[in-house]
């Protein structure tokens, strides 16, 4: 298989997502040179639409901007303009989504173009729709900024395209910040911090309500065009994203570094180096995938301890409970109705 984009792949057009942050900072009187220091691009190149940033460079820009702006609402103001955005066909595809379901599906399918730093994933059960977010390229310190911005983006997009306020509920894996009032105003009152996932939930009945002003055909054409654009890159998501999908698909097989490296057509050493470059290692990624599978089985499938342990091929539940504690910090019994 071809390897997905990495933290140093220069493919994010600077006049797409990054320019929104640049505009925000400059409207607050911040100097463009200071803002772009260490990002490897010049403002002149951004204005003529030539410059491309790698995820790492975009993260450097975010770090500069949040330091220079020094305000609690930067990520939220940035997020409000992120979606549907002005990213050509991919934005058209969102603009012409007929329902929330279609918008979320397109957001997930075109994530490399619409949300290159934070991967959105959609999950449904019979009562609710879940949209959870995962790090695409090793965001480290900027995770919180990205989570705030991305969730605000989805909320603002749904508000704008559907014309109504959806009753979103939010879970954040980070602790309650000092500036929680920003979350109240820009997201909602229904917040849970220190959660297992970075997640937003909406009742299922909102999924298929028709959205006004959408054109089915125009949306389909735009989606096809965006997929063709991605095909020219030879990948449709990030390397970490690809690894996560591979691990989830093969979670019941015996998995180790050597085998997975082979599946990716790489030597274990270079596979290890690639993970290191993204600030992570194999065991961490495997634990993350297993944790997500366990949470899925508990919360959505309603499995009990024995069933989850058996599914993940643990020989006894004691062993499983210990591993689960290591992944999540809590024992399975503390999990009941976590997102219910």
């Amino acid at each position: 298989m071809t390897i997905g984009y990495e933290c140093d792949t220069r493919f994010i057009a600077a006049h797409h997502q990054p320019v929104l942050l640049i505009d925000l900072a400059m409207s607050r009187g911040i100097d463009s040179h200071q803002l772009l220091r260490g990002t490897g691009v010049f403002y002149e190149d951004v204005t003529v639409g030539r410059a491309h940033l790698s995820p790492a460079q975009f993260l450097a820009l975010i770090s500069n901007a949040s330091r220079l702006l020094d305000a609690d609402d930067s990520s939220f103001l940035f997020g409000q303009r992120l979606l549907p955005g002005h990213y050509g066909e991919a934005s058209h595809a969102l603009n012409h989504a007929c329902t929330l379901f279609q918008a979320l599906e397109r957001l997930q399918r075109l994530r490399a173009l619409l949300s290159p730093l934070l991967t959105p994933r959609v999950l449904l059960d019979d009562k609710r729709a879940y949209l959870y977010w995962a790090d695409s390229c090793g965001a480290a310190d900027q995770q919180r900024f990205l989570a705030e911005a991305s969730m605000t983006a989805v909320v603002a997009m749904c508000r704008q395209l559907s014309g109504e306020r959806l009753p979103w509920r939010f879970h954040f894996s980070h602790e309650k910040p000092r500036y929680v009032e920003q979350y109240w105003v820009h997201l909602s009152e229904d917040l849970t911090f220190d959660s297992q996932l970075t997640l937003m939930i909406v009742p299922r009945e909102y999924l298929h309500r028709p959205w006004p002003n959408a054109s089915t055909t125009a949306g389909q054409v735009a989606e096809q065009a965006s997929l063709a654009q991605l095909a020219s890159h030879t990948w449709h998501c990030s390397f970490l994203d690809q690894l996560y999908e591979y691990l989830r698909a093969n979670i019941r097989e015996p998995l180790n570094l050597e085998r997975v490296a082979q599946a990716f057509g790489m030597s274990p050493a270079s596979f290890k180096r690639k993970l290191q470059k993204h600030g992570t290692h194999f065991q961490e990624q495997l634990d993350l995938a297993r944790k997500h599978v366990a949470l899925y089985l508990y919360q959505i499938k309603g499995y009990g301890n024995e069933e989850v342990a058996a599914y993940l091929r643990f020989n006894d539940t004691t062993n499983f409970r210990r591993s689960f504690k290591r992944w999540t910090g809590i024992v399975p019994s503390g999990l009941r109705q976590l997102f219910g």
Partner: protein, 304 residues
């Protein structure tokens, strides 16, 4: 820095000239001491004091607009600096025993400086009271500049929390009711998207002024976050708070805000909520207020 120099040219040039004249005078009359004769302890003490006086002077001039009070304070500090400066020069230059005037140059400016400074501080006090009067609906008893909002001339969320805490204690002691009112613009993001962030900022500033005009003297207005404002209303029951909330809502709806670029009328609407404090802490109170606001928002018509 440039504007600072332009604004305060006269006092700074005057001080430099005076200090230089003093130096010239000493050099003309006295003789330089040898290295061994210098008492470095005195140099450090008196010289350090002179430097500090100069730092005060610069900080003062930088932070204040020109005016009567600034002039008094600056003049006082200049005299104090001059006195210490001459004192320091004394350590390096040996003056003839007969000279008495040197004592005058060193000692006399100090009481004059202190007197001027005292008069300055007295007037500063009057000035501060006048400013506090102007700040009355935005600030109560306690000032912390790190808690100022960056966009509007109001306190931010942290300041609000502290003030609610104080207000709760006071309400309990005086056995008076305390209420909060929240005002949140409807679909404010659409204004940001349509007219740009600058126009959005201008709307928030206008709303801040508007709400302040519509509040009573004892009330306090803060900006919680984004387009949400919270007013603390001491001595106010729930019914009255609701009435005030309604008035604020009407005030926002009848504000004819026009964009800076094309003078286009922006139609604004706000949702409001009012809660009376019961047995809760600031965080719970704010939470109830937010829930009230969320309920009000849910009743808004669906707009395409």
């Amino acid at each position: 820095m440039k504007s600072f120099l332009r604004l305060h040219t006269l006092p700074l040039v005057g001080l430099a000239v005076a200090a230089n004249l003093g130096l010239q005078l000493y050099l003309a009359v006295g003789e330089l001491k040898g290295w061994g004769e210098i008492n470095w302890m005195d140099v450090a003490g008196e010289g350090g004091s002179a430097v500090l006086a100069l730092v005060w002077l610069i900080l003062l001039l930088r932070s204040r607009p020109a005016g009567r009070v600034t002039r008094l304070l600056a003049l006082g500090l200049s005299f104090i600096f001059f006195s210490w400066w001459m004192d320091t020069l004394d350590e390096f230059i040996q003056l003839p025993q007969l000279a008495v005037w040197d004592n005058w140059l060193e000692t006399a400016p100090m009481p004059i400086g202190l007197l001027l400074l005292t008069i300055g501080i007295y007037h500063l006090n009057l000035e501060q009271r006048a400013i506090s009067q102007q700040m009355s609906k935005r600030e109560k008893l306690f000032r912390e500049h790190r808690l100022f909002d960056k966009l509007t001339p109001l306190g931010a969320a942290e300041y609000l929390r502290q003030q609610i805490q104080h207000a709760l204690i006071e309400a309990r002691q005086t056995d008076q009711p305390l209420s909060l009112v929240a005002v949140d613009l409807d679909d404010f993001n659409a204004i940001n998207l349509r007219y740009g962030l600058d126009e959005g900022d201008a709307v928030l500033q206008a709303i801040a002024q508007l709400l302040m005009l519509n509040l009573r003297r004892q009330d306090l207005l803060c900006r919680l976050a984004g387009d949400r404002f919270v007013a603390v209303l001491p001595g106010t029951g729930e019914a009255q708070a609701r009435m005030i909330a309604e008035e604020l809502q009407h005030a926002v709806a009848s504000l004819a805000h026009r964009t800076a670029r094309h003078g286009e009328r922006v139609f604004l609407r706000a949702s409001t909520a009012a809660v009376m404090a019961l047995e809760d802490d600031p965080e719970q109170l704010l939470k109830r207020l937010n829930l009230g606001l969320a309920k009000a928002k849910q009743q808004l018509p669906r707009c395409a």
